[in-house]
């Protein structure tokens, strides 16, 4: 009962923050609310017994992403144009997509169901990690060993993204054209 109350409280705060981001008119405000949203989602992950993801989300999602957005605002502009008229089409698209997704969840296993099919592979890891490694944290063992190739792919993506950012933001020579036209 206590668990459910906390769950609903945190989820309510998350929903309120998400709506506030949509309604927020200033860009700095939107960036700060995005950080708050990430931090709240990290809190909920901690409640869901996933401390490793929670730490990463709090540090990388709430910290680094917010700093990136603020840095972008500081070198571009912090002024956003006011949107005057209400648009109907985006709301319709979003409501329709949401309805289809909710229809899709009707077949999902219930929250916290230990028999859910998702846990088949996870249970095998839980059984094998104490026998094959001397690491007490199952997430570390799976991340570094059983799914090491995933982690390798992740570092490749980060390297590519870093190179992309460097290429985009490098200092341009004087004689280079400002806008590329065909």
């Amino acid at each position: 009962m206590f668990q459910q109350t906390v769950d609903i409280l945190v989820l309510g705060l998350l929903a309120a923050t998400a709506l506030a981001v949509v309604r927020m008119r200033t860009l700095i405000g939107a960036a700060m609310l995005m950080g708050i949203y990430s931090f709240l989602s990290a809190s909920w992950m901690l409640i869901l017994d996933a401390p490793d993801v929670a730490f990463t989300e709090a540090a990388v999602g709430a910290g680094v992403s917010t700093i990136f957005v603020l840095a972008t605002l500081s070198i571009t502009t912090i002024r956003a144009k006011r949107q005057t008229k209400f648009q109907f089409a985006p709301l319709a698209v979003v409501v329709l997509t949401g309805a289809v997704l909710i229809y899709g969840t009707l077949d999902m296993p219930h929250f916290g169901d230990p028999e859910a099919p998702v846990h088949r592979v996870g249970n095998r890891y839980i059984k094998r990690v104490p026998e094959e490694f001397k690491i007490p944290n199952a997430v570390t063992a799976v991340l570094g060993s059983y799914r090491g190739f995933d982690t390798f792919g992740e570092t490749t993506v980060v390297l590519t993204a870093g190179l992309g950012v460097l290429c985009l933001l490098r200092k341009r020579r004087e004689d280079e054209p400002k806008v590329v036209t065909e």
Partner: protein
Amino acid sequence: MSEALGLYNYWIVIFLMMTGLYLVISTGNLVRKVVGLNIFQASVLLLYVTMGRVDGATAPIFVEGRETYTDPLPSVLMLTAIVVGVATTAVALALTVRINEAYGTIEEDEINEQEHAQELAG
């Protein structure tokens, strides 16, 4: 009624995902689009992490006297997704900076106007 109680986590996460999506498609400001994308992404992480939860279990760190642990697999996959998400956010923001350099604005409709004027000029 028991149906609703067992699935409420998914429904709230879907609501959060849709607010992010709404921000992405309704606003013309590029930075707000990136913020919307980030909210959408954080919600997808939540969707996966809620699937990994097991009633009465504890975090997947082995201790004496505990038999049930939460599923480590969604945690591992989402750890990768968080880092990849930040990397793509950085690229999107770098593109925004370049667009601002080239057009002097980060509003989509103003960029379109400039493009249109350039086309008319030949």
